[in-house]
């Protein structure tokens, strides 16, 4: 330390004095001149440095655990950290370092869950069948089994096309398919190896498509094959905790739908099924109708498929006997009037359906008449959506008349239906009145509770 040129008795600004005394100003916010780090901190730092070799975490106190989590290297192998370090800052740091956008509320405010789910999703999304080893997937399973509740997989890669044929027997694959020597033995990632081991999985979102395929575009990349279907069906059957299955935009036709549904019948936990944006026709709809009554489905979404009158009749037949379905979405199909009327008639016998969406189905006046009968009678139906159908003035009037007797509908969407403005305004008024009634009922219930 250089001696200051001033006399020791002078009244100096301490900052200036310090600056004259020490020219290095520390960047580390934890650094401070005066405090020598205490031994416990040094020990914790050495624990952090050597965590891989000797993971000591359980024995620490909570404050020490927090300290270690903040400084621990995020590139430690997962098999060391996964089951050891609980949810907290460490996983937050891992997530933020690896991915740019981290919205933790989407994952139940658990950083550990977000990390493992996204990690698993990336593994599956980048899995190239016959190139990537299934070991990479299986190795991860025991580590993330307790944390993965939802898998939202947005692409599934097909195998790389090779001119030679290579029949390799992957672990766990016994597909009953024709042994053509041209095709590889796997089409997409086989979920059989995975789903039964993930014991907490509740939601599975799948799309069979390839993102960023660029110039290598082929329609096959956006389709699910029959073998995929079979293997997936088996996998789904084996997963006993699955509550939500969303398999959209994967070119599912009737046969594939039936294959899937066959193995979903009597599934113990499936509550929500989403087959939107596929090509399901009447036969598939019939299979789904069967499924409606043999499982505990509460929410069914079949929007943007090819279901016609017959399929709708099958679903309606199932509806009339069903007592678990709460929400039915048949938007953007081709129901036409016979389908719409069938569903209307079925609803007369149904007391549990709360939400019905029939928008964009080429429905016209007679369907509106049938549905108005339902509206008069029903006191459970909460929301009904008939937008983008050509109901015309007569349909509008029938609905208006029915709504005047109804007290439970709190959402009635009849936009773009060519209905008279007067009817629309009347229906809106009734809906608002119902909404306020609903609120009052809620308030009363909460008071009595």
């Amino acid at each position: 330390m250089r001696r200051s040129p001033y006399s020791p008795g002078a009244n100096l600004n301490p900052v200036e004095d310090f600056r004259k005394m020490r020219r290095i100003i520390a960047e580390d916010p934890d650094w401070s001149l005066n405090i020598v780090p205490c031994l416990s901190k040094l020990c914790l730092q050495s624990i952090e440095r050597n965590f891989e070799g000797k993971p000591i975490f359980e024995e620490l106190t909570p404050i020490q655990k927090d300290f270690v989590q903040e400084n621990l290297s995020t590139s430690l192998p997962l098999h060391v950290t996964a089951n050891l370090i609980s949810d907290g800052v460490y996983w937050k740091r891992c997530c933020e370092q690896r991915w740019d956008l981290c919205d933790v509320s989407h994952y139940g405010h658990s950083w550990k869950r977000m990390f493992f789910e996204r990690h698993m999703e990336t593994i599956i999304e980048l899995f190239i069948p016959e190139v990537t080893e299934t070991k990479t997937v299986l190795v991860m399973v025991p580590l993330c089994r307790n944390y993965v509740k939802r898998l939202d997989i947005s692409q599934l890669l097909p195998p790389i096309k090779e001119p030679q044929n290579e029949e390799e027997e992957e672990f766990g694959l016994e597909l009953a398919s024709d042994n053509e020597y041209d095709r590889p033995s796997l089409d997409h990632f086989d979920f059989n190896i995975l789903l039964d081991k993930l014991t907490k999985l509740e939601e599975l979102h799948l799309v069979y498509r390839v993102k960023q395929c660029g110039m290598n575009f082929e329609w096959k990349m956006f389709e699910m094959t029959t073998r995929d279907c079979e293997s997936l069906a088996k996998a789904l059957k084996s997963c006993k905790t699955l509550k939500l299955l969303k398999l959209h935009q994967s070119h599912i036709e009737d046969e594939k739908c039936r294959l899937l549904v066959k193995d979903l019948l009597d599934h113990p936990s499936l509550r929500e099924l989403d087959f939107s944006h596929n090509l399901i026709g009447d036969k598939g709809a019939r299979a789904i109708g069967k499924l409606l009554n043999r499982s505990k489905l509460e929410i069914l979404n079949l929007c943007d498929n090819e279901i016609r009158g017959l399929g709708a009749k099958a679903i309606a037949h199932a509806l009339s006997k069903n007592s678990t379905l709460l929400s039915l979405n048949l938007r953007l199909n081709r129901l036409r009037d016979d389908g719409g009327q069938a569903i209307g008639k079925a609803l007369l016998n149904n007391n549990t359906l709360l939400h019905l969406h029939l928008g964009g189905n080429e429905l016209t006046g007679p369907t509106a008449v049938t549905l108005s009968k339902v509206l008069v009678q029903s006191n459970t139906l909460k929301s009904i959506n008939l937008s983008c159908n050509n109901l015309c003035v007569d349909g509008g009037r029938a609905l208006e008349e029915a709504m005047s007797h109804n007290t439970s509908v709190t959402e009635c969407d009849i936009r773009l239906t060519e209905v008279d403005k007067q009817s629309v305004s009347f229906i809106n008024q009734v809906v608002w009145a119902n909404q306020s009634l609903e609120q009052k009922r809620h308030a009363q219930e909460s008071k009595t509770k």
């Binding site: 935009q249 944006h277 943007d304 953007l332």
Partner: protein, 475 residues
């Protein structure tokens, strides 16, 4: 005619009968011929008709035959054409079929792509909407929470304020009661005092009234007198007023006349002003014309000046050129003059030299002169040549002399230089320089041995004289 024949039989029977017979025969023959002719004509007509019929039939046959042949050939050609055309049409049809198939395939592809894109778009929109709804719900929740908080706060405040108000009201009621009590007492006091006061006042009032009545009568009398005086004054003043009115009327008339005069004056002023403005405009126009003319003149003068200047410049340039040239010429002339002078001087010098050398070379030249004189008489036009030859001979002799002299001089200078060098070295060896004297070992200073080095002229080759020889010469 038989009668006639019978009748003529009696007469010149033989000639007339012969004539008749001849005539009859001729007639008969003529008739026969006619008949034959008729038969012939009929026959010929028939034949003609037949021939015509035949010809028609033959023509028809010919036409038919011709047509059938034509048909056959034509049919063959047409069949060939048909095959060719059918082949081309089939090919075209195949092409169109393939085009249609391609278009179908393209259409299917396009439809599939559009359906795919639409689905993806729908999904994205739904996701965005879900996010938007989430966000809206969150914001609404936030708002409602805020609203609730505000409501709760305001409710609390309201309660506080209402309780406060109630307290205040109770206090006010108590205060009001006491104040009313006080007010009643005070009012009673006031009433009593008031009644007492009024009674006293009334009594006093009556007394005063009597006194005032007396006083008022007196004042009335005085005021009557004053009024009369005032009336007189008033009448006097009204007379004065009427006089003044007359005067004012006169004055008003005068002012009217003055006003009229003023108006006429103003009119004249206006007219004068108008004339002024018109004259001003004329002036301004004249001015503008003048200024325009002036500008023109100015521009012309400028132009002329420019021209003048240009001409001046050109003249100057020429002058300078001339001067330069004349300078050059003068310089050349002077140079020539100098040259001539030099030549003259050289000639003088040559003459001098010649006169000096004449003694040495007089013999040679006398011979030449003799030869020259001998030749002069015969060859006159070659005079110049002779003189030239003499001159050239002289020049050559001079040049040769000069060369010899130069060589001598060089040798002499060389010797001089050598001698000088030797002398210097000798002197150096003898003397000690100042620089060496200052050093430590001045006494031991050793100079270079005296040598004659060759002068550093690369052109000349000099013999190197060794030290021994030089020393010999030096000592």
């Amino acid at each position: 005619m038989p009668k006639k024949r019978g009748g003529s039989k009696g007469g010149a029977k033989t000639e007339e009968e012969k004539l008749l017979l001849l005539q009859q025969r001729a007639q008969a023959e003529e008739e026969m011929a006619k008949k034959r002719e008729e038969i012939l004509t009929l026959f010929l007509k028939d034949k003609l008709q037949k021939e015509q019929k035949n010809a028609a039939v033959n023509l028809l046959k010919l036409n038919e035959g011709w047509r059938s042949v034509l048909r056959q050939t034509r049919a063959a050609e047409l069949r060939r054409d048909i095959t060719v055309l059918s082949q081309t049409f089939e090919r075209q049809l195949d092409g169109l079929d393939s085009v249609v198939k391609n278009l179908e395939r393209d259409l299917q592809e396009a439809e599939r792509q559009s359906a795919h894109v639409r689905r993806v778009h729908l999904q994205q929109l739904e996701r965005l909407r879900a996010q938007q709804d989430q966000r809206l719900a969150f914001v609404q929740q936030h708002w409602e929470d805020g609203l609730q908080q505000l409501g709760a706060r305001f409710g609390l405040e309201r309660k506080q304020i209402s309780s406060h108000c109630r307290q205040q009201r109770a206090d006010l009621a108590d205060a009001k009661f006491t104040v009313e009590q006080q007010h009643k007492a005070v009012m009673n006091e006031i009433h009593r005092l008031y009644s007492e006061g009024i009674a006293a006042y009334e009594s006093a009032h009556e007394d005063r009234k009597a006194a005032l009545l007396l006083v008022n009568k007196g004042t009335l009398r005085e005021k009557l007198l004053q009024n009369q005086e005032a009336e007189q004054l008033c009448s006097a003043e009204t007379q004065q007023l009427s006089l003044l009115l007359f005067r004012t009327q006169d004055l008003v008339k005068k002012t009217d006349a003055d006003m009229r005069k003023v108006k006429t004056l103003q009119d004249t002023v206006i007219s004068l002003r108008e004339t002024l403005t018109s004259s001003q405009t004329e002036n301004s126009s004249v001015e503008t014309n003048l200024s325009a003319a002036r500008n023109q003149v100015n521009t012309k003068t400028h132009e002329l000046r420019d021209q003048l200047g240009q001409v001046h410049a050109a003249a100057r340039k020429q002058l300078t050129q001339l001067t330069v040239q004349s300078d050059n010429a003068a310089k050349k002339l002077q140079a020539l003059i100098v040259k001539g002078q030099k030549v003259l001087r050289v000639a003088e010098m040559c003459h001098k030299l010649e006169s000096e050398q004449r003694e040495v070379l007089s013999l040679f030249w006398s011979e030449e002169l003799q030869r020259a004189e001998a030749e002069t008489e015969t060859e006159e036009p070659v005079k110049d040549m002779r003189e030239l030859r003499q001159v050239t001979r002289r020049i050559n002799g001079a040049v040769l002399q000069r060369a010899a002299l130069k060589k001598q001089r060089e040798d002499l200078s060389r010797e001089n230089q050598q001698l000088r060098d030797l002398l210097r070295q000798h002197l150096d060896a003898m003397t000690i320089s100042d620089a060496d004297a200052g050093g430590h070992h001045a006494l031991l200073a050793v100079c270079q041995a005296p040598t004659t080095t060759a002068p550093p002229n690369a052109d000349r080759r000099h013999t190197v004289i060794e030290a021994a020889h030089a020393v010999k010469h030096a000592l």
